[in-house]
């Protein structure tokens, strides 16, 4: 089965985010005074094959923990969806 994963990698709340602070300042300078906080993270899209959704989740979790996020400073969350099927035969 093929899955499409979307992954968000964000800084832990205890970690300062100078990029976020700068973006917030820039937004306010453009006139958006209502903005009080910005945190900048990463978004990744990934396709993977797996025998089951459980297997896909487990493997993806490992990937996030080992490479895609740095557990010292980052959190991650992901969503998995079955990849859209393109064949006319209509397999699930």
């Amino acid at each position: 089965m093929q899955f499409v994963a979307t992954i968000h990698v964000t800084l832990k709340s205890s970690v300062l985010d100078p990029q976020g602070t700068t973006v917030a300042r820039s937004l306010r300078a453009l006139g958006y005074d209502e903005v009080s906080r910005v945190r900048v993270g990463k978004y990744l899209e990934l396709r993977l094959d797996a025998q089951s959704r459980d297997e896909a989740e487990q493997r993806l979790d490992e990937m996030c923990h080992r490479l895609l996020a740095n557990p010292v400073i980052e959190n991650y969350r992901f969503e998995l969806a079955a990849a859209p099927v393109k064949e006319a035969g209509g397999q699930a």
């Binding site: 100078p18 740095n70 400073i73």
Partner: protein, 240 residues
Amino acid sequence: MKVAVPVFPGSNCDADTYHALRHVMEWQAEYVWHRQSDLLRFDAVVIPGGFSYGDYLRAGAIARFSPVMEGVREFAASGRPVLGICNGFQILCEAGLLPGALRTNDRLRFQCRHVWLRVETVETPFSAAAEAGQLLRLPIAHGEGNYYVGDDEHKRLEAEGQIVFRYVDAGGRPTEAANPNGSVANIAGVANGERNVVGMMPHPERAVESLLGSADGRQVFASMLRWLERAREGALHGDA
């Protein structure tokens, strides 16, 4: 003294590091391409600076999985000296061989200038030739040198004497103005628990000849010899 200089795709301070070791310290030095994993024939390893794998994802995040890093892990476990300079420091942190992580500079600008460092401990292979409290003038050149470590771990590192170098002003004070990147407690270099692995953001290899503006970097390399001599003496006299 035979030193390995691992080279990753994107490393760019390897030649300066090799020059400092081979031509200034007059030791044996060898480049080791990142695909080779056997480092046990060396006396020390110095991981150079640069932009391994373009700093893609996070600086050092991909390099830490290169075969040579398995060799570094094994080498570090044998108790022998490992130094990571700049990107080398980032790689060692990503590999979990050093605590903490390096983040984007708080001012968001690449910092390229000389700074003052204070030696916090001489109990490492890269500070053994210096004196505690001694100031060193070394250049930095980094966009992601902002050292982060959680509060509890930070307290532990301070208590255990694992902070090796700190950014200070010319008077030796760790002020905010003296901190070029926002690092927690002005930390510029740390050691592991066994104190044989050290990472530092400044570049000692760019300060080994006074023509370059400072020769203080020599102290870092001279420390390797001092440390090894002490270790050998200790072994001879049966010290632990």
